[in-house]
């Protein structure tokens, strides 16, 4: 698989290539998995996976339903602990990280959860602002950042709405906004376009690409082949039944 189908982003691409060349040699792996497995009961959700993700990489994770994609993500942001193997994220060994350090690990990782995980009794604004509040930012800065990011995801007119009154796609865009608002080093997006029409899906992808261009490492779990094939310079990792069955780089 090389270049995807229709590509609307020519200019940023050029920029990206230049940027990529400069940094190519100096990049270190920001996420490292060594023989990682996750077992639930007798069943392995993830089995013996070893991957290095370089800082600034853009990666698609694919695989059929139940292949272990979400589980892999969860282990990276430590919602689940690996049963076996070692995970190192941003220099921290997740096996040995102290309880008190976990929030700081998570502040470096923006997650778009597969089920959104919006707080139902907080407004859209409150949900997105929470990330910055938890990080102890000043309120003027919070206001500016949150409004800016909601503007870009097209949710600015719903700032005061509560998640249960939003459409599926709107909820998903709030989840995207929340994941990026803290300018995290790593963005983990679990099916970030599942509830979106192809146009909105493309704009969310472009949006994540902007953060990637600014240096963020992005991992996207997706079933949307059209989207995947439209993205340049992305590595694609494929899981089946918890094991790694393929890697491909589109250039």
């Amino acid at each position: 698989m090389l270049w995807g189908g229709d590509r609307a982003r020519a200019a940023p691409d050029l920029l990206l290539n230049t940027y990529a060349k400069d940094e190519m040699e100096t990049r270190d792996p920001i996420i490292r998995l060594f023989n990682v497995s996750k077992r639930y009961g007798k069943h392995y959700a993830v089995k013996d996976i070893t991957i290095d993700v370089d800082a600034g990489e853009f990666i698609f994770v694919t695989g059929s339903s139940g292949a272990g994609k979400s589980t892999l993500m969860k282990m990276i942001y430590l919602a689940e602990r690996a049963s076996q193997g070692q995970i190192i994220v941003d220099g921290m060994n997740l096996d040995r990280i102290s309880h008190a350090r976990i929030p700081y690990l998570r502040r470096n990782i923006g997650v778009i959860f597969q089920d959104f995980k919006l707080i139902p009794n907080k407004t859209v604004y409150g949900n997105v602002a929470l990330v910055l509040e938890a990080a102890g930012e000043r309120s003027a800065m919070i206001r500016r950042r949150v409004m800016q990011v909601l503007e870009t995801t097209g949710m600015a007119d719903k700032v005061n709405a509560f998640p249960p009154s939003l459409s599926g796609g709107e909820q998903q865009r709030v989840a995207v906004a929340r994941a990026v608002v803290g300018n995290p080093k790593i963005i983990l997006a679990d099916e970030p376009t599942g509830s979106l029409d192809s146009e909105s899906a493309q704009s969310v992808l472009d949006f994540l690409m902007q953060y990637h261009d600014k240096g963020a490492t992005v991992l996207i779990v997706s079933h949307n082949m059209q989207l995947i094939s439209s993205t340049v310079r992305a590595r694609s990792i494929s899981l089946a039944d918890g094991t790694l069955v393929g890697t491909a780089t589109m250039l």
Binding site: H99, I102, P103, R107, K117, I119, N121, L130, E133
Partner: protein, 293 residues
């Protein structure tokens, strides 16, 4: 800190149902405790006023002359248990006896000489004395030179005192028990309220919030809930008290030979602080369960 307080207040406003339920539960628990304390305090007060009525009667021998009185009185007054002392000369004693005996007193008129001894009536200083203490005191008085005999309630008084002391002990035990129960009920309610918010807490953790960031507003909420609950509970008690005592005063004015009184300000303060503590502790006990990594 102000920032946490603001978040706590906002959180109360956006979870009105849970907060109202929690505050009402705390208020009701406080109502139970304070109703019982009110009841117990008033009963104790009335019983104490009776208790003060108990007295020792010391009969003075033939050797006693009224001039010895100041010295004897001073001796008794020096004892820790002794309160007010009244001297009843034998003339007054006879008059009292006549009055006491009413229908049977006619024959007393026929007496040539007053056969009664002089008497000292000694009230107890403290209330709530144990039977042992009274007996010991009586023994000491009996050993005084002019005193021939000491009389006191004996059997009857012993029974009365042991009952009162039991009443008192049970009352304090029940106040504590009710407070403990209020604590458990509050903790239970807070736990349920948090249970229905466990997802929210989980989400906060997942987006990088520290324990402190999550927990502090809950504690402040607990304090606010506790304080409000205490105030509401006490207010309900005050209203019930006023309504009932007004009615009682109308319908039963003639029988009411004592006042029922509302809890003193000291108790208000204790109850409201206790209630705030209740809210806080309820949070503490419940959060331990829900905030874990």
């Amino acid at each position: 800190m102000f920032h946490y307080f603001k978040r706590a207040v906002l959180d109360i406003l956006s979870n009105r149902f849970l907060n109202v339920i929690t505050i009402v539960t705390i208020a009701l628990s406080i109502l139970v405790v304070s109703t019982f304390v009110l009841f117990f305090e008033n009963t104790s007060r009335v019983i104490d006023s009776w208790n003060q009525g108990f007295r020792l009667v010391a009969y003075l021998g033939e050797s006693f002359t009224p001039s010895m009185l100041p010295k004897l009185t001073a001796k008794i007054q020096a004892m820790a248990e002794a309160g007010e002392i009244r001297f009843i000369p034998k003339e007054e004693g006879l008059a009292l006896l006549k009055q006491e005996m009413k229908n049977r007193s006619a024959f007393l008129e026929t007496l040539e000489e007053n056969p009664l001894p002089h008497v000292l009536e000694i009230r107890m200083k403290r209330t709530g004395l144990e039977w042992d203490e009274i007996t010991a005191f009586a023994k000491t008085v009996e050993q005084l030179p002019q005193v021939t005999d000491v009389e006191y309630g004996q059997q009857w008084l012993g029974r009365f005192l042991s009952l009162f002391n039991l009443f008192r002990v049970t009352g304090y035990a029940m106040s504590s028990l009710f407070f403990l129960i209020a604590l458990f009920i509050t903790a239970n309610t807070v736990r349920l309220a948090l249970y229905s918010r466990r997802q929210e807490v989980e989400i906060m953790r997942l987006v990088g919030a520290t324990d402190r960031f999550i927990i502090t507003p809950f504690y402040i909420q607990g304090l606010i809930q506790g304080t409000l609950g205490g105030i509401v509970g006490l207010s309900i008690l005050l209203i019930i008290f006023l309504v009932i005592s007004l009615n009682l005063q109308e319908s039963a004015a003639s029988y009411m030979l004592f006042d029922i009184q509302f809890l003193s300000v000291k108790y208000w303060v204790i109850i409201i602080f206790g209630s705030a503590f209740l809210g806080w502790l309820g949070c503490y006990l419940s959060l331990k369960q829900f905030i874990k990594y």
